[in-house]
């Protein structure tokens, strides 16, 4: 009787808490509560004592399962099995489904269209045939009435000259059979990395202190003196960044860099540069190219100047940026700067 009573008491107590208490996994408050409970509950105290006693024995039993000799596996062999690391700047951020889908669609748009058209061409006659026949088996076993009819039809066709049907060497491929060559994959200019993005916005000056609605700078954008410009960035990892420009003479000039003539360390993962402000376009007339260069480590203005000097038209020279510490990434825009026409009319591109 008393034993049954004792058991019912122990069932009411939370044994999980008791175990956690033994393993110091309770919060200070829970510990206090349990200790208070242990003082009043004899069965729990007894259980605890038993469990504490048996724990080392149990651990020893479980650990006896471990193999006596542990083989040493070579790391080199394992590392060989691993794929080599991807290019200099793998993305840390997975593109969203829609992004990757639209990218995929962009690349394969034409192939997709051709494939679809081909499928239609192939399927239509087959489906027509399928619907005109009674059973699919007949189609394979006995020639259908339609099939019988076709040779007769063809006989009539035979009267027509057939030489165009074969494509002799040197002869132009009939238009219908010409394989569709997809257009070259269009690259978004300047975007090399996916783990971060940079945008450049501008606003045309209308009058003193008045500007047009800001727009994103596209390649070949025409800007005028005193137009406002701002850069915005987003990144998935801490980065340091420098914004520089280069003109058609190959002169490199800084747009944004820190006072120590090094790259600016970004304090937030997204924001604008200059922070909360914008800057004005100068009076330079001609073509310019602006760069946002980022890296995971601080780099100097001298290094960038050296790397970019003279690299006006080509991306090739940018390889010199390899000298920068850390993997660098770059975004670039082409701009045309013009003098504002003397009339005060708002310029239109």
């Amino acid at each position: 009787m008393s034993k049954a009573k004792q058991e019912s008491v122990s069932n009411a107590c939370d044994m999980g808490m008791l175990q956690a208490y033994m393993d110091n996994a309770l919060s200070p408050l829970e510990t206090k509560e349990l200790e208070a409970h242990l003082e009043s509950c004899e069965s729990c105290a007894q259980e605890l004592a038993e469990a504490q006693e048996s724990t080392p024995w149990l651990l020893q039993k479980v650990r006896s399962q471990q193999p006596e000799d542990i083989p040493v596996f070579s790391f080199e062999e394992l590392y060989q099995q691993l794929e080599p690391q991807e290019g200099p700047a793998p993305s840390t951020q997975k593109p969203s489904f829609m992004e990757s889908f639209s990218q995929w669609l962009g690349t394969w748009r034409w192939d997709f269209a051709t494939a679809f058209a081909l499928c239609l061409l192939l399927i239509l006659p087959v489906t027509q045939q399928m619907f005109t026949q009674d059973t699919p088996l007949e189609h394979f076993n006995t020639p259908s009435p339609r099939r019988k009819a076709t040779p007769q039809k063809r006989k009539i066709d035979k009267r027509q000259p057939t030489k165009h049907k074969l494509n002799k060497p040197g002869q132009a491929t009939p238009k219908k059979l010409r394989r569709h060559v997809p257009p070259r994959k269009r690259k978004v200019p300047g975007v090399i990395a996916k783990g971060w993005s940079a945008h450049m916005h501008f606003g045309h000056r209308i009058g003193p202190g008045h500007y047009e609605k800001t727009q994103e700078v596209q390649d070949g954008q025409v800007l005028y003196p005193e137009d406002v410009v701002q850069f915005s960035y987003k990144t998935t990892q801490p980065k340091t960044l420098m914004i520089v420009g280069i003109n058609a003479q190959g002169e490199v000039f800084p747009l944004i860099l820190s006072s120590q003539k090094t790259s600016v360390t970004l304090k937030t993962l997204f924001g604008t540069l200059p922070k909360g402000r914008s800057f004005f376009m100068d009076d330079y007339v001609g073509q310019e190219r602006y760069f946002v260069i980022t890296s995971s480590k601080t780099f100097t203005w001298q290094a960038v100047q050296k790397a970019l000097k003279g690299s006006w038209q080509t991306h090739k020279d940018l390889k010199k940026l390899k000298e920068l510490p850390g993997p660098w990434e770059i975004r670039t825009w082409w701009l045309t700067k013009r003098k504002r026409s003397t009339t005060k009319k708002v310029p239109q591109e």
Partner: protein, 175 residues
């Protein structure tokens, strides 16, 4: 791109491969399968590291979690095919003084095999010195229920071990 990737990977590998091998062996009792899964687990781990660098304290639970999932898959497949439990290190010659130990190891193995999957797992993790947070993470249960599972597992193990030991009469529990 992780700079010094190979070095970091090697450090992690050297640090965890032995204990992870033991853990896998304890579940599977097969050297071949344990070493195969060990390699698979580390390859998955390295690939994951490339995607996202893991804080050091998360690495060990992560490895155990993946290893556990892979091992349990094999174990379930074995059960569905009704394969007998591998005998472990039978190919190693047994010196006479080790006979008792060998018998006991076999007994514990049988008892562990009789326990519920998660009870056996919690005991193994407990013996590998994981804290409650990590155990909860590996087993994908609430932290608050770890204590309960562990308590039940211990009780069940003790009970079954004593029953078997008495039945065999040659072995006495050390209690």
């Amino acid at each position: 791109m992780i700079p010094n990737e190979k070095k970091i990977f090697e450090q992690d590998y050297q640090k965890y491969q032995r204990e992870l091998y033991c853990f896998l062996y304890e579940i599977l009792y097969s050297r071949e399968e344990a070493s195969e899964l060990l390699q698979e687990t580390f390859l998955t781990f390295f690939r994951e590291q490339r995607k996202e660098i893991m804080p050091q304290e998360k690495k060990r639970p992560w490895l155990y979690k993946v290893a556990k999932n892979k091992a349990l898959n094999i174990l379930r497949k074995r059960k569905s095919q009704d394969k007998p439990l591998p005998k472990g290190e039978d190919n190693i010659p047994t010196p006479e003084q080790k006979l008792y130990e060998q018998q006991e190891v076999a007994l514990v193995r049988e008892v562990m095999g009789e326990l519920r999957e998660r009870e056996a797992l919690v005991l193994r993790l407990y013996s590998h010195d994981f804290n409650y947070d990590e155990m909860a993470d590996i087993m994908q249960v609430e932290k608050s229920s770890i204590g309960k599972i562990l308590w039940r597992a211990k009780k069940a193990f003790k009970k079954r071990y004593q029953e078997r030991a008495q039945a065999e009469a040659s072995l006495q529990p050390c209690l």
